[in-house]
């Protein structure tokens, strides 16, 4: 069992800075997802934790121990590769036994440990199978078992579900989560798929352009995005953001969206902080938290997407495009005009200059 501390971690490849700076504390036994678009530095971070790459500067601590100069074979880290990297020329048993065998464990002990791990992962009937003809979920179990047999304190998973088709991914997600409960290790999970991060992780670290944007539980990150990037990135579709100027009205503080008119009044808790902001702000609200109303933003319907029971209505276009998600068909068609009202508690305001969320005092 081990906590991970990343302190001022920086990684440069020549002129290219993959990771600008990273401070992150991952608790013992926690399932932490590193989430971000490709090129955000999440895999680089993971590779440095595993010891495959040396940080340009900064520290990686496992518990109290500084990992600088500790080679990857000695870090006690289990690593599950994107394509699992199963030794295809060996049997499942040989794959599982690989780690102990390389460390010169006695035969009887290897057999006992392989037996125990195989039992736990339900691989016992497959032990003598060649590893080159296994289905993906079994490959995943072998990959996890092969690392788990070394009893690593830390498990690193590099997008293990990205090669799996969508239908199967749900099964694998459940299985992974169950495995983590079984092993109780600290897990770091790299993914660009927010659904994976949201469903499995205890906390999510959202990254972009080599910078950590926000760390929090899935609900925190969803409900209270720290900045414009997180607001847009998390959620499917992401948060609606409309640029405008704070303005006083007889009903309280509103945001003047120019041609779109003014927004409903901001929640009282937010108003003082927004008043203190100079310049433009982004008025943000979740597409799921929009209601059709007779007062609100009046916008033309530009497109209607139906996904089963859900309906995504696209309103307006360009800078002032808004998406609204309804759980049933609301009877809107292209060309019509809709009046939408964001649910007041879900409204978030961001400073347009810095992109940071404006928090209630």
């Amino acid at each position: 069992m081990s906590a991970i501390h990343l302190q001022n971690l920086v990684k440069k490849f020549g002129d290219f800075t993959a990771l600008k700076t990273m401070d992150l504390a991952i608790a013992d036994g926690e399932f932490m997802a590193l989430l971000g678009p490709s090129g955000c530095g999440k895999s680089t971070t993971m590779n440095m934790i595993a010891g495959m790459e040396e940080p340009t500067s900064g520290k990686i601590l496992f518990g109290e121990k500084d990992m600088a100069g500790v080679p990857m074979g000695r870090r006690g880290v289990g690593f599950v590769f994107q394509n699992y990297a199963i030794f295809t020329h060996m049997t499942v048993r040989q794959n599982l036994a690989y780690g102990p065998r390389m460390r010169g464990a006695p035969r009887a002990e290897i057999d006992r440990r392989v037996g125990a791990i195989a039992e736990m992962l339900q691989l016992t009937p497959l032990l003598e199978r060649k590893a080159d003809r296994l289905s993906v979920n079994i490959l995943q179990r072998v990959a996890i078992g092969r690392s788990a047999i070394m009893e690593p304190a830390i498990f690193l998973l590099d997008e293990p579900l990205s090669n799996v088709d969508a239908a199967f991914r749900a099964v694998m997600r459940t299985e992974l989560k169950q495995l983590q409960r079984q092993f109780k290790q600290t897990m770091v999970y790299v993914t660009h798929d927010q659904l994976e991060a949201m469903t499995m992780a205890d906390r999510i670290a959202v990254m972009d352009h080599g910078v950590l944007q926000q760390v929090g539980t899935p609900l925190e990150v969803y409900n209270n995005p720290a900045n414009v990037f997180v607001a847009r990135f998390i959620g499917s579709p992401g948060m609606n953001l409309l640029k405008g100027k704070p303005a006083e009205s007889d009903r309280g503080l509103v945001v003047d969206l120019g041609p779109l008119g003014v927004t409903p009044p901001l929640p009282d808790a937010l108003a003082p902080a927004v008043r203190a902001t100079r310049g433009d702000v982004f008025y943000g609200f979740r597409p799921e938290q929009v209601a059709l109303s007779d007062r609100g933003l009046t916008m033309p319907v530009s497109f209607v997407e139906r996904i089963g029971a859900r309906t995504i209505v696209h309103l307006g276009d360009g800078e002032s495009a808004v998406k609204a998600v309804f759980e049933n068909d609301v009877g809107l068609a292209i060309g019509q005009t809709a009046i939408v009202a964001p649910a007041a508690p879900s409204v978030r305001v961001f400073d347009a200059a810095t992109g940071q969320a404006i928090k209630a005092d």
């Binding site: 074979g73 990297a85 030794f87 020329h89 690989y98 092969r146 070394m150």
Partner: protein
């Protein structure tokens, strides 16, 4: 019913068309492979020679009741040539393999000047074997660069007559073969080495395998097929060793470096006993074919388990 009846006819049509389309190729194969083979078999059963004063097709009149084959069984020069060929193969092919593998391992990683060294390394392979033979002939002269180098190292004048000593001549010939054909081994093995999936090597490292363990448990098994191919190519090629060797020693001194190819060449051009030559060549072809089939089978079995 009609369609059921039509089917065999259609298949016949297809077979006929296929036969017609491949006819030119079949004729070609007949002329370049089957015909010479049958001709060889025919001549090998006779005493025919170009000096017989009659065409080879009349060789039946010189039928000798398998005398060529019975002679071959007791031909000491043949058996010692075969033994010598085997020795050259047993020494050269493993050395070429190990050197090639070491170089390939070296070249799998990046290092400064890699491209230049790579080109230099491949050059011996591009040299015409006859030219390589002449080059080594000059190098191994008693006043040549090899002795100069040995003199410089030992600090006293060395004047070894490399190509006049039975044992040293064989060594010189093997050095030339290793120089010329290690690059091919290197090239094939490098192709195999870069094909080893990198993440499996990383996975092995993370599981605590040291470089030697990684090489034995991951890299070599993954390269099995390509190693068999490389060895098969070199074993077959090495068995036919001729041009470089012939220019360096002419099979001499005496018969000290006379391999099968050199022996056959001499019988063909000096003794002119073509019936006997045909018998030897056929015997060797059979032996080599058996070896090749064995290698192919191993290869096919290795292929069943793709890397």
């Amino acid at each position: 019913m009609k369609t059921v009846q039509a089917k065999p006819a259609l298949r016949d049509e297809g077979a006929k068309l296929g036969f017609r389309l491949t006819l030119p190729a079949q004729i070609l194969v007949l002329f370049i492979a089957v015909f010479p083979l049958l001709m060889q078999l025919y001549i090998s059963l006779t005493d025919w020679s170009p000096l017989s004063g009659t065409g080879w097709w009349n060789a039946w009149s010189m039928w000798n009741n398998f005398a060529n084959y019975t002679d071959l069984a007791v031909d000491a020069r043949f058996w010692s040539a075969l033994k010598r060929t085997a020795i050259v193969m047993i020494v050269c092919v493993p050395i070429e393999f190990l050197l090639g593998l070491a170089l390939a391992t070296l070249f799998a990683d990046e290092f400064p000047g890699k491209r230049i060294f790579y080109s230099i390394l491949l050059m011996p392979m591009m040299v015409v074997p006859a030219v390589a033979g002449y080059m080594f002939f000059m190098l191994f002269q008693s006043g040549g660069p090899v002795n100069d180098l040995l003199s410089a190292i030992s600090g006293m004048p060395v004047t070894i007559a490399w190509l006049s000593d039975p044992t040293l001549a064989l060594i010189a010939v093997m050095v030339a073969d290793i120089w010329q054909w290690t690059p091919l081994m290197f090239l094939i093995l490098l192709a195999g080495l870069v094909g080893v999936p990198e993440d499996q090597i990383k996975a092995a490292t993370l599981l605590g395998a040291n470089p030697w363990q990684r090489f034995i448990t991951i890299v070599l098994p993954k390269m099995k097929t390509i190693i068999i191919i490389a060895l098969a190519i070199r074993v077959i090629e090495n068995f036919k060793i001729f041009d470089t060797l012939y220019i360096m020693t002419g099979g001499g001194p005496g018969v000290a470096t006379e391999t099968i190819s050199v022996y056959i060449y001499k019988l063909t051009t000096q003794d002119l006993i073509w019936g006997y030559v045909a018998a030897i060549a056929l015997a060797i072809l059979i032996v080599l074919s058996i070896a090749a089939v064995f290698a192919m089978k191993r290869m096919a079995r290795a292929r069943e388990v793709p890397a």
